[in-house]
Symmetry: C2
Subunit: 195 residues, 2 copies
């Protein structure tokens, strides 16, 4: 089960991973299974553990004052999960993270993560993912501001068709920043137009 992470690291760095590195990593990672609906993080808690998803699907969302959930991120296997802000600064998180499917995760506490970053390949990986994260968020801001709902939906179909298979429509709608009714109507028009 650790192999998925090693492959992930190798793909994101130029430096190789030594056998010693791998043993070191193994010693720090805590494999854990989340059942569907189980929480990895709740609002108000400090995110003490980062996680690498080996298998499954999770979602990160916030709840506004009207009690409406807003999906911030959808996560599948080979993604790092956690609230980076809370994890790094050790401040209470604004988000919930739960498992959407039965999910296998390799958990790692902050001090271990810091130790892990001393491995050059891992440091490279960390750099790569945080930069990707920033790009993705920036793109998301651009999309929400500049595109209509249907354009955002089409973009998502292109970029992450997996999401549509793994998450129900109301979750996708929330991720797109629209209501489920609107998404339903959008899809209806969209389908009839692509004949």
């Amino acid at each position: 089960m650790h192999e998925a992470l090693f492959t992930y690291i190798r793909q994101r760095s130029t430096t190789p991973l030594t056998g010693e590195d791998m043993n070191f990593l193994k010693s720090m990672l805590l494999p854990k299974k989340f059942r569907k609906g189980e929480y990895m993080l709740v609002e108000g808690e400090v995110c003490k553990l980062g996680g690498f998803i080996v298998k499954g699907a999770m979602r990160q969302y916030s709840v506004d004052d009207k009690g409406v959930e807003h999906v911030i991120q959808l996560l599948l296997e080979n993604w790092w999960v956690g609230d980076r802000e809370s994890f790094e600064k050790e401040t209470p998180s604004l988000y919930y993270i739960d498992a959407w499917e039965e999910t296998e995760v390799l958990l790692i506490p902050k001090n271990s993560y810091d130790a892990m970053k001393r491995i050059p390949a891992v440091a490279e990986m960390d750099n790569t993912i945080i930069n990707k994260h920033v790009s993705a968020l920036q793109k998301r801001v651009r999309d929400i501001i500049g595109l209509t709902a249907i354009e955002r939906y089409e973009n998502l179909v292109q970029a992450h068709p997996e999401f549509l298979q793994r998450f129900p429509q109301r979750i996708i709608a929330s991720y797109l920043g629209i209501t489920q009714e609107t998404l339903s109507r959008l899809r209806h028009n969209y389908k009839s137009s692509e004949v």
Copy 2:
């Protein structure tokens, strides 16, 4: 003029900056004055230089297919400016960055920036700012998705009153993701309600 950057680094790290570090930094930084309207980066170009704003105001924006500008970020003194995605991956940028006021910037090429990160205090600073950047973007996504235009405006007034003094309303409107007409009306109602 470098002093502003040194202070900035010190405030964001636990390790002190040695005199040697400071000389090293000075040797790599290229002071440059941008005149109002002058571009630091245009869409399609690789962002080869990062910049630390010593004095002035800049904006980062993208232009959609209808030719409408969307302000992604507003930047004042003591901010790092640049398109991190393009800078790190050396890929063409999707953004324009220009000076809104006469602006003094300390520029630094990518390889120097990497070298600079070998100074522990600078590495810490880099970590801090990228994490802040992620938090800010995440907050922005949450705000755009979950709040109405007026709530976003009120938030901005709270968080960055300086912006309202340094940038015209149409730029603020673009940053909030609304038209200038809408912002004008919003402010009108807002003012009359705060009696």
